[in-house]
């Protein structure tokens, strides 16, 4: 009798514990506590339009997934949106369908024009600035920061060209990262480079905890994706195009998409060059590295849609030359003219996958990770309760039988 009593008390105790405490552990193995991003478009001149489209596409992806403007350093080497050669003033597109205006009003550019040079780039990484450089131009990371570094432009065997006249070599970047390691300025770095012969640029890395993705091998070129005849130049590169295809399916707070899955989504046949994903002295298991470790934020965020300003198109704007397809009226008021195509369309109409509607992210959404935890906790709790009842049931049967 005493045994059974103890037994039942123990099980009652377990039930109470399970009802009040979560049991399941997170699948996340990362050790960072904040996220930063450094996005650089290093080429100048109008015909390099696709490089700024690449950079801004990644900028908006990173913002959508949760990194705020204060943690993003955006370096654009020239002004394309308000360039005299731009037929669509104030707008930059990464697709010939012109669905999304990458430039909008919510873009905060930290380094522009002549300030994007090798010296400022290396000063930014190492943190060695002149005393009166403002805060928004500094990379204020610490030992718990995961940094995404994205470079795009023209490059070659172990170098990247800045502004069509300067070069930064792979050894320079490797040394800068080593300085950052010694100064404890990062937890982990994801280095994505999209140029010709990109993989050579991270051949000299020797600091730990760096993951690098390059889009082309030595001797290979990196190709643009398609040409836009209304602007007159190529508007996006293949690597970025297929990256965005994959990244657009990721919601903020995603906890199960690994970096390897992202990398494997791009085949050499699609991007016409041989990409490579390499981990340099990574402390954790490389297969555990998640995309949201670098692209998103560890904090819970409310992500805003890209076009944040609201204005109403008048119904009789016949004289309007603009094609306003890309602008979304987020605050739903009446007089929404459906012909003006207010909703943000799927960004890439070439793929067959369904894309998430951007407007969904306007409201606060609980993280996917938390949902998973709650679900599995509920399963466990139900299972424990069923077990308790079974035990009581069998003990009663035992009592009856004896």
């Amino acid at each position: 009798m005493m045994k059974k009593q103890n037994f039942s008390y123990i099980f009652l105790f377990c039930v109470l514990i399970n009802l009040f405490f979560p049991v399941c552990l997170s699948t996340r193995t990362s050790t960072h506590n904040n996220n930063w991003a450094v996005i650089v478009c290093s080429s100048r001149f109008w015909f390099n339009y696709r490089h700024v489209a690449n950079a801004l596409s990644f900028y908006h992806t990173v913002k959508r997934l949760g990194i705020p403007d204060s943690n993003i350093i955006l370096m654009l080497a020239d002004d394309w949106a308000c360039n005299a050669r731009n037929c669509f003033p104030g707008k930059i597109f990464n697709n010939k369908d012109h669905n999304l205006n990458l430039y909008g009003t919510n873009v905060e550019i930290d380094y522009r024009g002549y300030e994007v040079n090798v010296e400022n780039f290396l000063r930014l990484l190492t943190g060695r600035h002149e005393p009166d450089v403002p805060r928004n131009k500094r990379l204020l990371t610490d030992s718990g920061s995961n940094i995404l570094v994205y470079l795009t432009g023209h490059g070659g065997n172990e170098f990247l060209k800045f502004q069509d006249s300067e070069e930064v070599s792979s050894k320079d970047i490797a040394d800068a990262f080593e300085q950052m390691y010694q100064k404890k300025r990062y937890n982990e770095i994801l280095f994505i480079i999209e140029t010709c012969q990109a993989n050579t640029l991270f051949s000299k890395f020797y600091s730990p905890n760096i993951a690098a993705i390059g889009c082309s091998e030595l001797g290979e070129n990196s190709y643009s994706h398609h040409f836009d005849s209304s602007i007159g130049v190529q508007v996006i590169d293949s690597f970025t195009y297929f990256s965005l295809n994959f990244l657009n399916n990721i919601k903020p707070g995603d906890s199960h998409t690994t970096l390897e899955k992202y990398f494997n989504s791009m085949t050499p046949k699609q991007i016409r060059s041989q990409p490579r994903l390499e981990f340099f002295q990574f402390q954790r298991n490389p297969r555990d590295v998640l995309v949201s470790d670098f692209f998103g934020s560890i904090h819970e965020v409310v992500s805003h849609p890209i076009n944040n300003y609201t204005f109403k198109n008048d119904n009789d704007n016949d004289n309007d030359n603009d094609n306003d397809n890309g602008n979304a009226n987020i605050n739903e008021k009446e007089n929404v003219n459906n012909n003006d195509n207010f909703q943000l369309k799927n960004q890439f109409q070439h793929t067959e996958k369904t894309q998430p509607n951007m407007e969904q992210s306007n409201q606060f959404q609980p993280r996917v990770e938390d949902e998973a935890i709650e679900l599995s906790d509920n399963y466990f709790r139900i299972g424990m309760i069923i077990l308790i009842f079974l035990i009581f049931f069998f003990s009663i049967i035992e009592k009856i039988l004896t």
């Binding site: 100048r44 001149f45 905060e108 550019i109 002549y114 008021k333």
Partner: protein, 560 residues
């Protein structure tokens, strides 16, 4: 329902509460001026004024805190910063103060000491606020105009620093921080019309911020946006993309729309009314009577061209500056190209032949009926090595050159009568230093009605160091415009500031293109090797007999 009763109540309460507060502390007004200019142009001028009496620099209400701190920490008296895209020509009409293309920063400090480091601090903070480049504090560009009066403050000579970057890119992301300085941002009031993408499709737009600390210890913060549109008839929804939707900014003590320069006010819907001070327009009340305010103007006489068109050149009936004899030098006055109330006509250009030397010519024409007292401030970067002995002034009224009296008043503060005693006086010269400060000259001119002065100075082009070339050096170097300031105390004319054109100077630049250099170096090296190789292989050994005894075996190359 657009605005629920709750929203109306909310804003009413807000306006009551803050209206009371506003009267005691800061006063904020909004105004939009719509003016008809020449050549089918229209001006939309947004003025947002905040005046703070006896500020204590600790608690800020409507006055933006960043600028309050800026004034206090750097002992500023006056600050003006503007970002402009496009060029405003005076032939469109007189619009008061406008800005030169690119970025411009003017700062007047309380004392003369340490101007350069104070200006550097201020310019870095301003460029951080507005997201522009940090080059305003570059000493090869910025300088101090001594005799130009930028504001109505007294005797600001030698305490003002000026910097102008004509090449500064201005884009949609620069408007966002400017809008954030307004009390109601772009959510309410006149600023809700401002959509950056629509603004950057216009003919000329300029946004500026002006902070003045007057002697009675009151701070005024003035934000101005100038838009020049080329339209014959217009609607708010066409230009701005949206009509004016309420509510009006509750902090504003007066929101008005003023209309000037139109001959037929009846072509406006809604019809404007008298709003005092001989002004015609609208004073907007809260909630705009629950209706969108979409001002529509359609003139009754319609020509062939309707609405928005770019091809107005052929319809202007202008000869573009020359009469039928193709005579360009017609005393600078061509009736087609000046407006009715234009005071002066300005022109500035380079005269060059070749890549070594050239000259800058500034032409000023007096179109008023009285004498004009002007000061001209011109600052040329060091790589234009100005030879000041070539500074000459010619007038169309006289055959010989005008004599320039050397006043050189740098050490003392001359009053008005001294400055304009002669027809042309040289007030100041600053010679340039290589890779350092620019060359500056300031002149005081007295122009008779209808007179044109042509001021010319010659220069030799200098060489830049390799690192000093900007990345697109082949495009040329932008030279800041000259400033002509009108001193009008005697004739009761307003003090005005005019800007000439900015110039584009082509310097001999090295060829930066990498493939070219690679090809030249490799082909030269190859040629040296191959040439000598070929010569050695195909040369013939032969005897060369000298007059002296010995014969030598010499390899003689075949002639190619």
């Amino acid at each position: 329902m657009k605005h629920t009763p709750l929203t109306i109540l909310f804003f009413l309460f807000f306006s009551l509460y803050f209206g009371c507060l506003a009267q005691s502390q800061d006063k904020y007004t909004e105004a939009l001026t719509i003016k008809k200019l020449n050549k089918n142009k229209l001006l939309f001028k947004f003025d947002f004024n905040t005046i703070s009496k006896n500020p204590n620099y600790q608690n800020y209400f409507l006055f933006p805190k960043t600028f309050g701190n800026l004034v206090k920490e750097n002992s500023l008296e006056y600050l003006r910063f503007s970002l402009t895209q496009g060029m405003y020509h005076l032939k469109y009409g007189e619009i008061g103060r406008y800005s030169p293309p690119g970025g411009e920063l003017i700062a007047t400090f309380e004392t003369k000491e340490d101007l350069e480091s104070k200006f550097r601090t201020v310019s870095r903070k301003i460029s951080g606020i507005f997201g522009t480049s940090q080059k305003f504090s570059d000493l090869t560009i910025s300088a101090q105009p001594f005799y130009t009066e930028f504001n109505s403050l007294e005797s600001t000579s030698q305490r003002t620093h000026y910097s102008s970057l004509p090449r500064e890119p201005v884009c949609t992301e620069n408007l966002t921080p400017w809008l954030k300085l307004l009390p109601c941002r772009s959510k309410a009031g006149l600023a809700s019309l401002l959509n950056p993408i629509k603004l950057y499709d216009l003919f000329y737009h300029s946004m500026s911020v002006e902070v003045t600390r007057s002697q009675e210890n009151s701070l005024s913060f003035h934000q101005q946006l100038l838009l020049v549109v080329e339209l014959k008839e217009f609607k708010f929804s066409q230009i701005f993309g949206t009509p004016l939707i309420g509510p009006i900014c509750p902090f504003s003590s007066q929101t008005k729309i003023q209309i000037e320069g139109f001959s037929d006010y009846s072509s406006f819907t809604p019809t404007p009314e008298e709003i005092g001070n001989n002004q015609v327009g609208f004073i907007l009340k809260e909630n705009l009577n629950k209706k969108d305010f979409n001002l529509h103007y359609s003139p009754k006489e319609k020509t062939n061209n309707n609405g928005y068109n770019h091809n107005n050149i052929g319809n202007d009936n202008s000869n573009n500056g020359n009469d039928n004899n193709n005579n360009f030098n017609n005393n600078g006055i061509n009736d087609e190209n000046i407006s009715k109330n234009q005071s002066i006509k300005l022109n500035r250009f380079l005269k060059e032949s070749g890549k070594i030397r050239g000259g800058v010519i500034t032409q000023i024409t007096n179109l008023e009926k009285n004498d004009l007292h002007l000061t001209l401030y011109d600052s040329l970067p060091w790589f234009m090595r100005v030879y000041f002995h070539t500074l000459t002034i010619k007038s169309n009224f006289e055959n010989k050159e005008i004599e320039i009296t050397d006043l050189n008043l740098e050490s003392e503060q001359g009053n008005e009568s001294n400055l304009f005693a002669n027809q042309a006086s040289l007030l100041r010269i600053q010679t340039s230093q290589d890779h350092g400060r620019p060359s500056i000259f300031e002149l005081a001119l007295v122009l008779k009605p209808g007179e044109t002065f042509q001021i010319s100075v010659d220069y030799l082009k200098g060489f830049l160091n390799f690192e000093e070339h900007p990345f697109d050096g082949n495009r040329g170097f932008d030279i800041a415009p000259a400033i002509v300031s009108m001193h009008g105390k005697k004739q009761n004319l307003k003090k005005r500031i005019y800007y000439t054109d900015s110039l584009l100077l082509m310097l001999p630049t090295p060829d930066f293109t990498m493939p070219y250099n690679v090809m030249t170096i490799t082909t030269t090296a190859f040629l040296i090797w191959y040439g000598s190789f070929l010569n050695n292989l195909t040369g013939r050994a032969g005897l060369k007999l000298k007059k002296k005894s010995k014969a030598k075996w010499i390899i003689k190359p075949d002639k190619f």
